[in-house]
């Protein structure tokens, strides 16, 4: 059984890439899949065949990641595509987001579930407007880890000074936005330097290759200080002869940990009880944590239904009907003041109205435009929303799952807007003093 055991004992990293076609993103992704031996023979043959039909000499690795016919015809990537690959140390889900069209919407979508975001820059151009936009989105979405991949190092003679200047400028900018961890790596996706294999041209760089970093970055943090939250998805009631009184509350733990015996409160009703048992998909456990799907049994028979939130009594969020949030508008129809919408938060969907749009944010320079009146597709803005019922929301900074929501058009069901409760950006990390360093410490 050694094969199965070995392959089973890995973790999963969800990450997203951002960058324009010109930055060599498709080549980087193709290189990663190719060099980690994740491209299978028939897929590579198909790419070679199409490349040859088009009169190209070498297989165009970008074809590996261009899925839809419309994209191939237009030569652009128009949507988030998911890629899967594995190394003996970890399995990866990559949300590959396009650089040009609808980039904000797609990058926000990809980043919403990512634990790491890769931002690509061309070493010849350095940090440009688009780099700053991508950094801002990673900061807004509170992606825990950001990698700056400085690509095309072969075109700047693999010079340390070029890399160091770009890394310093980016790190200063992103830290200011509150990005908690930034790792800069000099690469050449085309030549393969520092993508999977260490480069033979950059002795001055002592850090990990791109893939090594993906393999070693932590995918879970210490949950003991997190707010514990369990949105109830479904009430399990067998009502059978042998289990006439069983009532289990099924859900995926959105944050933190729960223990048997713990005093809990059910929101929005505010009723309190204790956890009498936790069923982890057929296995009784004493403790369960995010992102496990569990069924919780409670000591008292209280009225609980889908949409309720189970929280520790000592750490319950306040409920509110007034939500202020940063949103990314994702639909083609605009969001306007007075718009009547549905708001989905956790497992609860309620009626809501857009009371105000105080400002729109320009990602290029982070300037605010007061009272824009409406938000259109790919706009980022602040909104004030009044909900028909009180909701137990957290701030997005504290909890990505219970601090987020979507707005839905009640008429046609379109997903209109992605929302993050509370302040847009984290407070910047105090700038570290670099005087004790004698050079770059990668």
């Amino acid at each position: 059984m050694s094969t199965i055991t070995e392959l089973t004992e890995t973790t999963l990293l969800r990450f997203a890439t951002a960058g324009s076609v010109d930055d060599g993103k498709s080549t980087l992704v193709g290189r990663l899949l190719h060099d980690s031996k994740s491209v299978l023979t028939d897929q590579l043959e198909a790419v070679q065949r199409v490349s040859a039909d088009r009169g190209q000499d070498a297989p165009d690795l970008a074809l590996l990641t261009d899925g839809l016919r419309a994209e191939r015809e237009q030569g652009i990537t128009i949507d988030v595509a998911y890629r899967y690959f594995a190394t003996p140390r970890r399995r990866f889900i990559l949300a590959d987001t396009p650089g040009h069209v609808q980039y904000t919407r797609n990058m926000v979508t990809g980043a919403s579930t990512a634990e790491l975001t890769v931002i690509l820059v061309d070493a010849r151009n350095g940090v440009v407007e688009q780099t700053r936009r991508h950094a801002a989105i990673a900061a807004l979405l509170r992606v825990p880890h950001v990698v700056l991949a400085v690509n095309k190092m072969d075109l700047v003679e693999y010079k340390e000074s070029v890399f160091a200047a770009i890394a310093e400028e980016f790190t200063a900018y992103a830290s200011e936005l509150g990005v908690p961890e930034i790792t800069a790596i000099p690469i050449s996706a085309l030549a393969g330097d520092n993508v999977v294999e260490p480069s033979a041209h950059m002795d001055w760089y002592g850090g990990p290759t791109f893939l090594e970093h993906l393999e070693s970055v932590p995918v879970a943090h210490d949950l003991s200080h997190c707010h514990a939250r369990l949105p109830v998805q479904y009430v399990i009631r067998p009502q059978s002869a042998d289990l006439p009184d069983y009532r289990g509350y099924a859900g995926q733990i959105a944050a933190g940990t729960f223990r048997v015996g713990e005093a809990v409160t059910v929101l929005p009703s505010g009723r309190a009880t204790r956890i009498s048992g936790i069923d982890l998909l057929g296995k009784p456990v004493n403790t369960a944590w995010t992102t496990q799907s569990v069924t919780v049994l409670l000591e008292d028979d209280i009225d609980i239904s889908r949409g309720d939130l189970i929280v520790p009594s000592k750490d319950a969020p306040a409920t509110t009907q007034d939500i202020e949030a940063t949103v990314c508008h994702v639909a083609d129809q605009p969001l306007t003041v007075g718009h009547r919408v549905l708001l989905k938060h956790g497992t609860r969907t309620v009626k809501a109205i857009v009371k105000d749009i105080p400002s729109r944010l320009t990602l290029d320079d982070l300037s605010l435009h007061p009272h824009p009146g409406q938000l259109v597709a790919n706009d980022i803005g602040r909104v004030k929303i009044r909900t028909a019922e009180p909701l137990p929301v957290d701030s997005y900074a504290d909890s990505r799952r219970t601090g987020s929501f979507i707005l839905i058009d009640p008429a046609d069901g379109t997903t209109l807007t992605a929302g993050m409760v509370g302040e847009s950006f984290a407070a910047p990390e105090p700038v570290k003093d670099g005087t004790d360093d004698d050079g770059w410490d990668f």
Binding site: T3, I4, L7, T8, T10, T11, L12, L40, D42, Q43, G67, L68, R69, D79, A81, Y82, Y84, A86, R90, T109, S112, T113, E168, T171, I182, T183, G207, P208, E212, V217, P218, A220, D222, L223, Q233, Y234, I236, R237, P238, Q239, L243, Y246, A250, G251, Q252, L281, T290, T291, Q292, S293, K344, R400, R401, I408, G413, V431, K432, W440, D441, F442
Partner: protein, 312 residues
């Protein structure tokens, strides 16, 4: 200075990190429970193939100790492996499930559908499936599709909106943020739901091994009368093979997917246990669709075209 040093040593993960199989299982269970909470009449597409078997296993776990609150739907091409039909009926019986069948043969017999010259019936499944969904008013239809199978699937949503003709329009698909799925649909429309979206073929096999899930025997190496067509080993049988210039031989083979006999190819294999199958897949250099599905080879955009028309 300011760039952070990455830790390359082992053990950076806290005890709270889930294994990849636990993470995928939890995500799939979450999807099943969302559908149970938000839809009126969900149904699981059940072919007796390994992906649909894993889906059913996840659904059983998601609602235990209560029964699965969905019925099953089998789109029957009429070219079934007998071992698979037997497995299907035994499973339905064992778990007390309700089975719906949409029969391609019925449509051919009634003259609504015409047999294709190549004898392949996979493309004929779309109409019986769509009409069954309409007739039974199913509003959520679980499919075992995975994004790693094929390029056009790489951009598929977990909740995929279909119109009354089951058509998929890439421009109408909704962005999926966090784990907040939007299942709103108009009367007559339905949502295809893919709980295994983020699984790879290897994940499915590892999960089958971990959970001790029983599979139809055709997934394991056995001797069978086969003939070669277009580089694939097809089973000789009443469905229309072999043709005069194709010779039948007995080979040791197994199937990597289960589908219509006329276009599901076998691979040479001596893997008789799950562990051997997993070892073989881990070493394999062909995707399962590339190796075994004739219908995906029809054109480069084959899958995208069929999806638009309402295929799985």
């Amino acid at each position: 200075m300011t760039a952070t040093v990455a830790k390359t040593d082992e053990g950076t993960d806290t005890p709270y990190a889930l294994s990849h199989l636990d993470a995928l299982e939890s995500e799939a269970v979450h999807i099943f429970r969302e559908v149970a909470g938000e839809f009126e009449r969900p149904v699981i597409l059940f072919s007796g193939g390994k992906d649909s078997i894993v889906m059913l296993h996840l659904a059983l776990k998601a609602f235990a100790p209560a029964p699965v609150p969905f019925s099953l739907l089998h789109v029957d091409t009429g070219h079934n492996f007998p071992e698979v039909l037997e497995y299907r009926d035994r499973t339905v019986e064992k778990h007390g499930l309700r089975l719906h069948v949409a029969s391609v043969q019925d449509y051919i017999d009634r003259g609504v559908l015409r047999e294709r010259p190549d004898g392949t019936r996979n493309p004929l499944q779309t109409l019986p499936l769509t009409e069954k969904i309409q007739a039974e008013k199913f509003d959520a239809v679980f499919g075992g599709g995975r994004r790693d199978e094929e390029k056009a699937r790489a951009k598929e949503r977990v909740f995929s909106l279909r119109d009354e003709f089951s058509q998929w329009d890439p421009r109408r698909q909704r962005p999926e943020l966090w784990n907040l799925y939007n299942g709103r649909h108009a009367a007559g429309e339905h949502v295809r739901v893919f709980p295994l979206s983020n699984w790879t073929e290897l994940d499915v096999w590892q999960y089958i091994a971990r959970e001790g899930i029983e599979l139809p025997q055709i997934y394991f190496a056995h001797e069978r009368e086969v003939f070669n067509r277009g580089g694939m080993w097809l089973t000789a049988g009443e469905w229309g093979g072999p043709k005069a210039d194709e010779t039948v031989e007995k080979r040791l083979i197994r199937y990597r997917t289960v589908g219509d006999m006329s276009c599901t190819g076998a691979v040479d294999s001596d893997a008789v246990t799950l562990e051997q199958v997993i070892t073989e897949i881990a070493a394999s250099r062909l995707t399962e669709r590339g190796a075994t599905r004739a219908d995906d080879k029809l054109s480069e955009a084959a899958m995208e075209d069929r999806k638009r028309e309402g295929y799985f």
